[in-house]
Amino acid sequence: MLGTLQPPRTLSRFPLYLTSRPVTLCTLTAQSPPSTSPAHSQILSIRHSLLTRQVTAAQLAESYLSRLRLTEPHLKSFLHVSDSDAVLRQAALLDQRIAGGEDVGPLAGVVVGVKDNICTADMPSTGGSRVLEGYRPAYDATAVRKIKELGGIVVGKTNLDEFGMGSTTEASAFQVTANPWDVSRVPGGSSGGSAAAVSARQCVVSLGSDTGGSVRQPASFCGVVGLKPTYGRVSRYGLMAYASSLDVIGCFGSSVADTGILLHAISGHDRLDATSSKREVPDFASQFASINLLESKPLKGLRVGVIRETLDEGVDAGVISAIRGAASHLEELGCSVTEISLPSFSLGLPAYYILASSESSSNLSRYDGVRYGNQAVADELNSLYGDSRAKGFGPEVKMRILMGTYGLSAGYYDAYYKRAQQVRTIIRKSFKTALDENDILISPAAPSAAYKIGEKIDDPLAMYAGDIMTVNVNLAGLPALVLPCGFVEGGKVGLPVGLQMIGAAFDEEKLLKVGHIFEQTLQNCRFVPPLIEDDTAW
């Protein structure tokens, strides 16, 4: 325990040097070091160490692998871990190229976790479902291909709620992932494995997918940075579809810069995805070095809207307090912060569950046992379908298929699917208006911090309600960045709380800039979970 920071039992954290509030709010334990150094980009420092030959890619990979081996029994964040020889071979290859003075990509030596609903050609991809147990795709998803081309090393496939349907990873067909901050708690979901893996530094960055908050909510629960890009920014090719009009591949990192660099690596038009945007991808990465933090008001003039409806009843007081603290922090940085109202906000949840379930009922039709995956033994065709799917899908997936099938059925379509689409249009418009008047909108990423494993497993409505903060953003197709901004009581040392920043479509650049400055100026908060607190590297 020596030499590590103990997150305090106060409800939120404020930057020390900017805040006018009493310093005592950020109580430090006696043992804590004086250092308040903020999160730094692991990707940039890896690059620096590799190119200056301070360390080899093989050494780096080995250190991640050994930490992974050590922590994995507690966390179970991976459904499949790459063969360590193969990982080390890739690293050694990079070392050879570096030694030979060759150019290596910006992700050279970066160990990446990939959510298991994203296809990888050389390892199993199950989507967390029994129906695809043992399935090995014929191809790499575009995002994975790009990561590999830029030198990234895929270290394994992370756990998730089956096909992304869930908020805890408890709906995985194979295992439940634990939260590194308190292993009795859920890491969030559905990208819980990817969030936990980054939080516990089992990998440098990871890919998740976000249909209704599946990157942002686990980022909040696990105290890491999660980025949900604009719909169309990243190719969905190779992402097992849950709800096609909402799904995006997103990024996890332990710093804003890392998520930005990863996003840059995987962004851009893909001729294999007709919904991917042809917009140019700005160089998100270059700005992280150049931001002048010496300026006293680096975000002067930035208009920030706090979404009133997200700080209402049903949201934990500690979370509200942390978000209000983050708002004050932004004010200190020069932002003009106002409270705004999105009257359509509460409509998002029912609309989301109708649309997502409807699309999923269609998208999951292909898992029929005919061409791949588990096939039931049956006497005739209907049993073949029925049994393969009955045995292959878990209860949460079945429930959503049933809901979606109902919502699309003749006679119900207008009342459900069509109406939900109309709500979606209203939500999109109200966000547009709010983002015309504000540069970014902020809210919590979830109404609470991580809860106990099993706590909501029998209460799907309570679990669905937890998505209230995030689903509207998917319905509107907007980008959102979640980054840790404080703590609430819980676990051994407190539980992290994530701040959600929502930007205008394709304006990830602004979110990353604001997020980076916020993170770099947030003092005395290190979001390193107790599970690895003895690891001196952190």
Binding site: Y139, Y237, R366, Y372, A410
Partner: protein, 548 residues
Amino acid sequence: MMASTIFRSIQNHPLLLYQTALFRRKNGVFYCTMKSTEAQTATQEKQKPPLPKIMKQTKTSDKFSKDYEAVIGIETHVQLNTLTKAFCGCPYNYGSPPNTSVCPICMGLPGALPVLNSKVIELAVKVGLALNSKLSLNSKFDRKQYFYPDLPKGYQISQFDVPIASGGYIDLDLPVEFGGGHRRFGITRVHMEEDAGKLLHSENGSYSQVDLNRAGVPLLEIVSEPDMRTGIEAAEYAAELQRLVRYLGVSNGNMQEGSLRCDVNVSVRPIGQAQFGTKVEIKNLNSFSSVSRAIDFEISRQVLLHSQGQGDQITQETRLWEEGAQKTVTMRKKEGLADYRYFPEPDLPGVILTKEYVNSILDSLPELPEVKRRRYEKMGLSMQDVLFLANDVNVAEFFDATIAKGADVKLAANWIMGDIAAYMKNEKLTINEIKLIPQELAELIASIKGGTISGKIGKEILFELLAKGGTVKGLIKEKDLVQIVDPVEIEKIVDKVLSENPKQLEQYRGGKTKLQGYFAGQVMKLSKGKANPGLLNKILLEKLNAQS
């Protein structure tokens, strides 16, 4: 990847289960017939010998049929001849070994996404315009959902409430041998969709295999208004659609390969009744004649039931045309309306057509069959000739090119419909495969008309040109075939023949004037066929009758 996917566990209960399972799919008729790929048309088919009367009921119902009227509508699926499939880069070649033209997208692998081949839009717009339809400048794709092993994604990408084209009509002329007459049949809609794969069933029926080569191949579904009243009208409608897509070059329209498939809806009602009768759908129609015969059979069946007061026994069902037995049999009864749970395809952006785009395609359309027929008619050709020439786009183009070189219209038509067509038929060649080119046919016709060669020599040259090519002038020169039109020269030959046949000359002059033909033949033979027949006969007669 998988060379062939097998699902072993489907047991094949020979009669009932197997059939119902096999044909559960709405659009699913499996075309396995392997006949000659020779282009066939409704008109040509009619030259086949009439099929034996199979059913007694046809005769019985004949006397009632005048009291009833049939109402027929057709859904046609046309396979578009794009280089690659509708939503992926796989090529499609009919008859390739199973699962050799597949990829993650058309196999419906997890994570794969469709991307529209823009050529599909272009061809759909062409057909929409050619059918005089209204194009939707903003249309979209939808998912039509049902489970079947040949449907890899569990849904078919199709168009539901906003088809790319709606309304419209098609004009056609009924064949003369069926009384002729012009018809205009309404088109309800044209929409784009993807084809499904095929199931291949093992001989003992213990398992079935899935071939996904055809999965994702672009189709146009063309739905007609219920405007047809007889089997012939329906068959001619289908034949005209085939003609249209071939003229447009959007499909090979081959029914045997399944590139053009017709599902027919037939109902019968007492004449004068406004309300439609209960409709029956007929599938498995692999030729125009089966379309015609299946409908006529079905009309008779329904009329008979009506006339016996058993009209209520006509239920809404899908019936299968059995080519061998020449009858329709129940395939499946409708179990209420199928719910395909259509919703907009979220993986594909909307289909937006600009007016400029539509206009550019409109400008590029070729002359269509109806316009061509009207033009030929105005040129003075008989309807028989018009229908023959305009039936096949390549024949029509050959004819047009020939007359563009100045050939006489009627003569050109006669040559094409006569000796050239006979040659093509004997040699099993298409007009594009013969060696004769339109310019030479025009030259040939001109040479005969101008008297350079005789019609008989012309025929000889024609077969030479058909088989080996070359030019008329070259052949005439090479074979020294120029007609002898010099009277002096012909007179010499006549004199020679007369002097060599004194006996016959005597007989002729003794009154056996029929011998004129004999002399003419001898002269022609001696001139190696080159003597101008008119001159020959004139001089010969003069000489024969000279000293009597």
